[in-house]
């Protein structure tokens, strides 16, 4: 099932001109700089911006084409705005029930109570909106939109107006949604970190146009796109919890071509996880170092390398498996090691961040444990 959209809108001096097909499952990150049209695209998907010539199909359902325009309130969508936009004249409970009451009972796939549990709102339901923190408001807004059992959830920078602490508080809940619900999510963000943590699929936008779309791990490593060249360039690798080492309290994570070791995490064996590796945390050696404190050393082949500026270079490494990883190093190091395409090297990974995602789990949510960042060496 896919979501197919085609819009060309002019708003003031800004033109949105997009045609795209997104998978109607998992999280699709819509990423780009501020003002690139991400929000306008999302609003057009919701029917809040009307392009008379637009086309939009969600699965089998036509939401818009030449002659049809289904108004927003008749579209099975959820929308989370950048500011929570809760109804201030209603309590938390009434906000949550607002959408729920307006859909027929037989279309309800999520109960009030499970939404409350999913977003950790137990203590908040009978509070007034004024007494909620920014993070709490946004969680209520997410639950409120989910309670309409949408066939797609549109999120417009839901974390952008929150402080770092509230962001950290919400992200695990978002990962949890991803794991617990089958609802596809379109997630607009200008934060690569958020997108890398959450998205499966990525749509890159710039100046009202789509520059690339595809699975996130692939796009992160593409040299023709700006992501691989940013200072926080990073790679995402999928892995599975293989086993726990109780002697040293480590966890072995298995990926397509080997293993990563991280300090022990409270996740069951077999659980799929997402590993994030920053390009600047990867260093290269020509021979496998034995006297090093770095545990994660992988044989790799240089797929591509490019100069960023007069001092730094970016290298794309094939570590086996389908996801290459990025490495950022100095031009001097690259010259000393005589790096070139197809050369065999060893990648030393100094730090790995683990996002707990994938697969429904029976265990109760423990937000504090779902993200672990490890620094070694």
């Amino acid at each position: 099932m896919t979501i197919d959209a085609r819009f060309s809108l002019v708003r003031g001096g800004f033109a949105l001109n997009v045609s795209l097909s997104m998978p109607a499952r998992g999280i699709t990150g819509i990423f780009g700089p501020s003002g690139c049209g991400k929000t306008t695209l999302l609003r057009a998907l919701a029917g809040l911006e009307h392009d008379p010539l637009g086309h939009l199909t969600v699965g089998e359902v036509v939401w818009q084409n030449g002659s049809t325009f289904i108004p927003t309130h008749k579209r099975a969508l959820g929308y989370v705005f950048q500011e929570a936009s809760l109804f201030t004249h209603l309590t938390v409970r009434q906000n949550l029930e607002y959408g729920l009451k307006r859909i027929p009972r037989r279309e309800r796939r999520l109960t009030f109570d499970s939404a409350v549990v999913l977003l950790g709102l137990n203590k908040l339901v009978d509070r007034a909106i004024d007494n909620l923190s920014g993070g709490e408001r946004q969680r209520v807004a997410i639950a409120r939109s989910l309670l309409t059992s949408p066939s797609v959830l549109l999120m417009d920078e839901p974390l952008a107006s929150l402080d770092a602490q509230s962001k950290a508080e919400i992200l695990p809940f978002l990962e949890n949604l991803h794991r617990e619900l089958s609802t596809p999510i379109m997630y607009v963000s200008h934060s690569l970190e958020e997108v890398a943590q959450l998205a499966d699929h990525l749509v890159l936008m710039n100046a009202g146009r789509i520059t690339a779309a595809g699975p996130l791990p692939q796009l992160l490593g593409r040299f023709d796109l700006p992501l691989a060249h940013s200072t926080d360039a990073e790679s995402v690798v999928h892995a599975v919890v293989a086993r726990h080492d109780n002697e040293y309290m480590l966890t072995h994570l298995k990926f397509a071509a080997g293993e990563f070791l991280i300090p022990r995490v409270a996740l069951p064996s077999g659980r799929s996880v997402r590993i994030r590796i920053l390009a600047r945390d990867v260093s290269l050696t020509l021979k496998r170092q034995v006297d090093t404190s770095i545990l994660n050393v992988l044989p790799a082949r240089i797929k591509e390398l490019t100069r960023e500026d007069s001092a730094t270079m970016t290298v794309l490494l094939d570590i086996g498996g389908d996801t290459p990883i990025l490495c950022r190093l100095t031009r001097k190091s690259a010259t000393m090691l005589k790096l070139r395409k197809d050369k065999q090297v060893f990648a030393q990974i100094k730090s790995i961040a683990l996002f707990g995602t994938r697969q429904p789990s029976a265990e109760q949510l423990q937000p504090a444990h779902t993200m672990t960042s490890v620094r070694q060496g």
Binding site: L48, H73, Y79, S85, F87, H89, R102, S145
Partner: protein, 226 residues
């Protein structure tokens, strides 16, 4: 203290002000909503017409209403042709005049209140499956509550205080179309300052209390134009 004519003037005034306020809230709410929402390029024309009584001398307004609603005016004539009475010198005529005269005091606070809600809560409600009427009733009206308080109190108080329009169209018939403000004028004309003081003082107190209510209820909202 108060004579019978005074009491019947008070009753007429209160009846007039309540009827006018009620009708204005019913008519003014959709009008204000439309003005707050529409992107029609000529909406300023409607806004100007609504605001006109703010600047027009009440006697001018009253004169045109008298001409229009009287037996030879277009509206009066139509009513007569339908077997009804024309409206000059009647209570109904007073109500019609008051509605026109107090319109801006009801419509403008409501329009401001609706505008200040912004599009966002309504868009949020639309994404939660609320149709336009549903959004209006469950989001716009509750959120515009301070505007409704202001509109009701100002509309009521302003109708109580009108003079020129009611004098023209009502004709100052005691027990029928004589209202307080005119009764005060009559007492002063007759050099009866005691009665004038009672009525004037009462109206002063009532106006003060009305505005106090507005300010107390909408601590943040401001009373616009008077």
């Amino acid at each position: 203290m108060l004579n019978d004519a005074d009491i019947s003037a008070i009753v007429t005034t209160l009846k007039l002000a309540s009827t006018t306020t009620l009708i204005l809230l019913l008519v003014g709410t959709p009008l204000a909503w439309w003005l707050a929402c529409t992107r029609w390029r000529f909406k300023c024309i409607i806004e100007t017409i609504v605001a006109l009584p703010l600047v027009l001398p009440p006697t001018v307004l009253g004169f045109y209403l008298l001409v229009g609603l009287g037996p030879h005016g277009p509206i009066g004539e139509t009513l007569c042709a339908l077997g009804l009475n024309h409206l000059a010198f009647t209570f109904t005529g007073l109500v019609v005049g008051s509605i026109v005269y107090s319109m801006p005091f009801v419509v403008q606070p409501l329009q401001d209140a609706f505008s200040s809600i912004g599009k966002r809560p309504l868009e949020a409600a639309a994404t939660l499956r609320a149709c336009p009427l549903d959004r209006f009733l469950t989001i716009a009206i509750p959120l515009a509550r301070p505007g409704f308080v202001t509109a009701a109190v100002l509309g009521f108080a302003h109708t109580v205080g009108e003079f020129g329009v009611v004098l023209m169209i009502g004709g100052n018939i005691p027990g029928k179309t004589q209202v307080l403000s005119i009764a005060v004028y009559d007492h002063v004309e007759a050099m009866d300052y005691t009665h004038a003081h009672w009525l004037a003082g009462g109206m002063l107190l009532m106006s003060f209390l009305s505005l106090l209510i507005v300010h107390a209820v909408n601590r943040r909202s401001r009373v616009i134009h008077s």
